[in-house]
């Protein structure tokens, strides 16, 4: 590589980085330069080791809106401190089932046509793409009937989908504290023999 190329390369990097930093500084949606280490994902491998922090005998009420003022914090602890929600709090199928048993709100993030064919019994359907496209106000009006500190489990198909993670972000940004991502999704749930509604 000629010196000249190196020089040009460095100029491109310097100008690009400088511009990026400048725009980030004035961009209202900008992020802090250093991502807080504590706001970091729990790896999916750890989900097997996860223990539930649900108190014995507790039954979740997804429709209890009294907790909008102040409440406890469930699985997702760090939220939006620095413009970031905890990205991936993934839970195992066992933990998902435990949450199901205490009446956690299950949200299916897939499209309506997929939801209609098969979903977790009692789950509601919030198609991520439609939801994400809506302004914050509308998102909030959809969600306002749900408990902000209640336990929520978001899932999608399983193997190759991320809409559950994406929807979990959106919900956490709206201030929902107990959002969990069940990455195994509907397929794992069904093969584990857990309750589903099927057409």
């Amino acid at each position: 590589m000629k010196n000249n190329t190196v020089k040009q390369l460095l100029i491109i990097i310097a100008v690009g980085a400088g511009l990026g930093l400048l725009v980030n500084a004035v961009n209202p949606g900008g992020v802090p330069l250093i991502l807080d280490k504590n706001i970091y994902k729990v790896d999916i491998a750890d989900s097997n080791k996860q223990k539930s922090n649900i108190p014995e005998g507790f039954v979740n009420d997804p429709y209890d809106t009294s907790s909008y003022k102040q409440g406890h914090n469930w699985q997702v602890k760090e939220k939006n401190k620095q413009g970031f929600v905890e990205p991936e709090q993934k839970i195992s199928k066992e933990l998902a089932k435990q949450m199901y048993d205490i009446k956690a709100l299950f949200i299916d993030a897939r499209k309506k046509e997929d939801f209609d064919v098969l979903h977790v019994t009692g789950a509601i359907n919030i198609p991520y793409e439609e939801f994400h496209a809506k302004p914050r106000q509308e998102q909030m009006s959809i969600m306002k009937k749900f408990n902000k500190d209640g336990i929520i489990v978001v899932y999608c198909k399983g193997e190759k989908c991320e809409v559950s993670i994406d929807l979990a972000y959106d919900l956490a940004k709206l201030g929902f504290n107990g959002v969990n991502i069940y990455k195994g999704g509907i397929h794992e749930w069904k093969s584990a023999g857990y309750p589903v509604e099927e057409k």
Partner: protein, 163 residues
């Protein structure tokens, strides 16, 4: 072969194509560092403290590289920048694929969903782009009057008028 590769129209098309792809890939990320950081985070490759810095700066470097490739300014530097970044992306993609990570690429759109698992397709695309960028780097100034003296502006200007 060399003559074809260094043909200025071929070069022009190649530069335009790769430049456009770089710009297209960067626009979504320019004002969305948060979503892009999320995409980088999913690769699980870099120390957490570097992720936001990268999410802030990389899209602008990509964007400038694209503009420079299209205009023909700093051809050598821009094509080398493309090579370096495409190579880094390639490593990230291959490693994600090898580790069986179920993630979206984060290459173009940051809102990709439902149909993921496109990593292998992205690897192939990346290799093609890499070859293209290499051809630009290696053969760009072969038969042009102005040699690579660090001031490519003249040649670039001439060509962009033609296009």
């Amino acid at each position: 072969m060399k003559q074809i590769l260094s043909n200025k129209y071929f070069q022009l098309v190649l530069r335009f194509a790769i430049g456009a792809i770089f710009i297209y890939a960067s626009v979504n990320k320019l004002f969305n560092p948060q979503d892009f950081a999320k995409a980088i985070l999913r690769y699980d490759m870099l120390p957490v403290f570097t992720i936001n810095m990268l999410a802030i700066t990389l899209p602008y470097v990509e964007f400038i590289t694209g503009i420079l490739l299209i205009t023909g300014i700093y051809k050598k530097g821009a094509s080398m920048m493309a090579i370096v970044s495409l190579f880094v992306f390639l490593i990230a993609l291959v490693s994600a694929s090898a580790r069986g990570l179920d993630i979206s690429c984060g290459c173009f759109s940051l809102e990709e969903s439902s149909t993921k698992g496109d990593i292998n397709m992205r690897i192939i695309q990346d290799v093609f782009l890499l070859i293209g960028a290499f051809i630009i780097y290696k053969f760009s100034d072969k038969f042009l009057p102005v040699t690579d003296t660090g001031d490519d502006t003249q040649t670039g200007g001439e060509e962009s008028v033609k296009c």
